[in-house]
């Protein structure tokens, strides 16, 4: 193709949307945050505990490992603390939407559900075909991972 023709034609580029992993979807992640808090004592939990649960909810291996540590079948040193940036963003959005509010807990800062989360939570619980596996993991582990337990998990992975 001659050079002058190339310059004469206009190019236009269309940005194609990229696929998003389900766990990076806002409409998936915000409900998860709310459910984790809902199943925690007094509808509130520290960031430490939320990060621990988040790891278990995201992957079956994470869930299985936490389950074994909770049952004392595995020493807590096997827990790898992970901080997921997307999770932190989800918390900010949930906070911005007024579903949660920052509180201080025995384990540093944490989150507590607000009254505004009531309607969405009751819908989430009602929709039994949605988040089935995740709900099961949260239901099973949110109560067992107490603040004290989360703290000890974190402590065990610190270098002495």
């Amino acid at each position: 193709m001659p050079v002058d023709r190339l310059s004469a034609e206009r190019f236009s580029f269309v940005e194609r949307p990229i696929p998003v992993p389900g766990d990076l979807r806002l409409s998936w992640r915000i409900p998860i945050v709310l459910l984790m808090l809902h199943h925690s004592r007094q509808n509130k939990a520290s960031l430490v505990k939320l990060h621990v649960l988040n790891d278990a909810v995201r992957t079956p291996t994470g869930a299985e490992r936490l389950r074994q540590i909770v049952r004392d079948q595995l020493p807590p040193v096997f827990w790898q603390p992970r901080i997921e940036p997307a999770f932190a963003r989800a918390i900010d959005f949930a906070n911005g939407d007024g579903f949660v509010t920052w509180v201080s807990t025995t384990n540093g800062s944490g989150l507590s559900l607000t009254d505004k989360s009531g309607p969405v939570l009751s819908k989430l619980i009602e929709m039994t075909d949605v988040l089935a596996d995740e709900k099961q993991v949260i239901l099973e582990l949110a109560g067992k991972v107490t603040e004290g337990f989360a703290k000890s998990l974190l402590a065990s992975s610190r270098v002495a």
């Binding site: 992993p21 389900g22 979807r25 992640r29």
Partner: protein, 680 residues
């Protein structure tokens, strides 16, 4: 159908006997009394007598007020007397006119799980004396076993309760407790939701849908149950196919390969059932017929030529031995190569499996995200409008921190993952087939190597024989050929036998498969459609009467999935469905609930559906709904509820207002000044 005829409550103290007797002898019954005077106690007593108290929550205690359990007073501000014993008795009637009286102790009597029954009208004195029969409620099996009360009650009402799936994957009947919130609107929580609210502790999946399908006796529910049944049969059929197919493949491990038997039965197999057998002969696959012919010829040739003496054969044996050793070396190289290929395929397979499992998880998550997004604004601005709630900038990139682009729309994303899954599954299937082929080849080569080694041993022995004896190498070769022929013939026989069984299984499978496709495709039947249309029409008519304002009455319709009322509104030319929250206008929520429940009662007059033919409304004047709406509600009931239908309403409105609203109608107004429970 279930009609209440008479309710009797008793609470005995050391001094006196308190109680009340309510006769519901007309289709329309209004119980009027002041606040906190015992109306809800009476209605709770109805639930309790029928053992249905867990329709409203999982509590195991007795759901009755203080006055029936602990202490009771004659007048407000009067002294309390301690309740020593209390019970409730209820007389009901079914569609055939059969009567049933039930009695359940509340305190100081027998076990509270026990319900005593008499198949006669003990309270109104109608019917001959009859024997008492005791039942239990709330024990495992109360709704399934013969002596469970709810089995008995469901039979009495004329319900054949369907089996439904539980969260744990098991099955249970659709308990009466799950249905009851659609007939009884309880004061505390009943007005907080348009449907139910249904009990969740029964562990039934998708309760609203199951309940509505049963009550309206929808074909779609029956179709789904039939489909579930057919799918179970399909699964059984497939598993017996797999067992027989594995048998078949196992019978032919001796160097044979069978093709043409698919992993799943296909119509093609039914019409043209072929399972050609190949045999690995002299380093390559040949058909069993060709192998048999070759072996027979070989055997004949050996038989015809007289066995050479060891001496004459010795040099030939030497040559053969050298060739054999060379072939064995080549064979082991080939085997090694196949093992490598097998290993590589397995690695690839495991990578694909991991990817597939990740994709499936991702698909589920995106699908969940899509469903959750349908919740709309209650899920917050970030998730529903893709707008940051604080700075109002677009958050189309979802939670991806590094993404510079826009995230795919969720429905497109779901499609995208699905197509990826299809690709990967195809790839996994092809690898699995190649692997199976390689494994067969490996087995055949192994077999060949065993045979060659045996031949080497035989040749070595032949070399050590006395010079003038006939060579056993030649004899051995003839024997091997003979046994292979026998082996192949036996394999063919076994295959023929199993194939005839497989054809039968495949025929049945193909039939079931076609049936299940038909059932899965069946949408809403015309009968279902006419029922739903009738409900929508009746709801809209009533909403006009009741002064419903939140939406236009013509915008109200029923959701396809579980028939809850929703609104269909035009938004910039597009029709969008909106959930109706009760937060926006609570009094309109109450109006819609009246219309929704009564529309089903109206439908029950026209179509044979599974309705109690009874509605109980505890304090329908909720949320300060205007009196004019309430008058229209009572009038609609008075005009439309008759014959073998019944509505019971409790209210604390004044007697004059009720009487004027129902003036000219034949209604049973039961009025109480002061406490309903009074000394007898």
């Amino acid at each position: 159908m279930l009609q209440l005829r008479h309710l009797k409550l008793r609470a005995l103290t050391a001094q006196s006997e308190f109680g009340c007797d309510l006769s519901f002898d007309k289709p329309v019954n209004v119980v009027r009394a002041g606040n906190t005077s015992g109306k809800s106690t009476c209605l709770q007593a109805v639930n309790y007598a029928l053992g249905l108290e867990r329709a409203f929550g999982p509590r195991t205690g007795i759901p009755m007020t203080f006055a029936m359990q602990e202490r009771i007073q004659r007048l407000k501000d009067g002294p309390y007397e301690r309740v020593l014993q209390s019970y409730v008795e209820l007389e009901v009637e079914n569609v055939t006119g059969a009567l049933l009286t039930v009695r359940r102790d509340i305190t100081g009597g027998t076990e509270t799980k026990l319900i005593q029954t008499w198949p006669t009208g003990r309270l109104t004195g109608v019917g001959p004396p009859a024997d008492q029969r005791d039942f239990f409620v709330h024990d495992a099996g109360a709704a399934q076993h013969e002596d469970g009360f709810h089995t008995y009650l469901a039979n009495f009402i004329g319900f054949d309760l369907p089996r439904v799936t539980r969260y744990d994957g098991g099955e249970s009947p659709l308990y009466l407790e799950a249905l009851f919130p659609m007939f009884f609107v309880e004061q505390k929580r009943g007005w907080s939701a348009l449907q139910g609210p249904f009990p969740t502790h029964l562990q039934i999946q998708d309760v609203p849908r199951r309940v509505m399908e049963f009550i309206l006796d929808l074909d779609i529910g029956k179709t789904r149950r039939e489909l579930a049944e057919v799918r179970i049969q399909l699964r059984d059929s497939l598993s017996s196919w797999t067992v027989r197919r594995d048998d078949l493949l196992a019978t032919t491990r001796n160097g044979c390969r069978i093709s043409g038997v698919p992993v799943k039965p296909t119509p093609e197999f039914v019409h043209d059932p072929r399972a050609p057998i190949d045999y690995f002969l002299d380093g390559q696959w040949v058909s069993i017929e060709a192998a048999l012919q070759a072996l027979t010829e070989r055997q004949l040739a050996l038989r015809e030529a007289p066995p050479p003496s060891s001496q004459t054969a010795a040099s030939a044996i030497e040559v053969e031995l050298a060739e054999l050793r060379h072939s064995l070396d080549e064979l082991s190289v080939r085997q090694e190569d196949i093992r490598d290929r097998e290993r590589a395929q397995k690695q690839q397979m495991s990578a694909i499996e991991t990817r597939l499992s990740d994709l499936k998880t991702d698909l589920e998550r995106n699908k969940d995200a899509l469903k959750l997004k349908e919740l709309g604004s209650i899920l917050g601005h970030a998730a529903s409008d893709h707008q940051c709630p604080t700075c109002h900038q677009s958050v189309d990139a979802e939670l991806m921190p590094l993404a510079s682009g826009t995230g795919m729309a969720i429905d497109k994303n779901v499609e995208f993952i699905r197509s990826q899954i299809v690709m990967y599954e195809a790839s996994a299937g092809s690898i699995a087939r190649q692997l199976a082929e390689l494994q067969l080849l490996a087995a055949a080569l192994q077999q060949q190597s065993v045979e060659m080694r045996a031949r080497v041993r035989a040749l070595r022995q032949a070399l050590m024989q006395p010079a003038d004896s006939p060579s056993i190498a030649a004899l051995e070769a003839a024997l091997v050929a003979q046994s292979k022929i026998a082996d192949l013939n036996a394999s063919q026989e076994r295959v023929d036998e199993v194939i005839s069984e497989l054809i039968d299984i495949a025929r049945e499978y193909v039939r079931l498969d076609a049936l299940s496709r038909d059932l899965a495709r069946a949408g809403i039947s015309p009968t279902d459609r006419s029922k739903i249309d009738y409900l929508v029409k009746t709801i809209r008519e009533q909403l006009v009467l009741y002064g419903y304002k939140s939406f236009l009455p013509t915008e109200i319709t029923l959701a396809e999935d579980n028939l809850r009322p929703i609104a269909e509104v035009r938004d910039e030319g597009e029709i969008v469905q909106r959930e109706i929250g009760l937060n926006d206008s609570a009094s309109d929520g109450t109006r819609l609930k009246w219309a929704y429940y009564l529309s089903m009662l109206a439908l029950a007059r026209h179509a044979p559906i599974n309705h109690f033919q009874l509605n109980i409304f505890d304090e329908p004047g909720q949320q300060e709904v205007e009196w004019e709406s309430m008058v229209q509600f009572l009038k609609w009931i008075a005009e439309n509820v008759k014959d073998r239908q019944q509505v019971i309403v409790t209210t604390s409105e004044t007697k004059q207002r009720i009487e004027s609203a129902l003036a000219g109608f034949d209604a049973n107004i039961i009025n109480f000044e002061g406490f309903i429970l009074q000394p007898k």
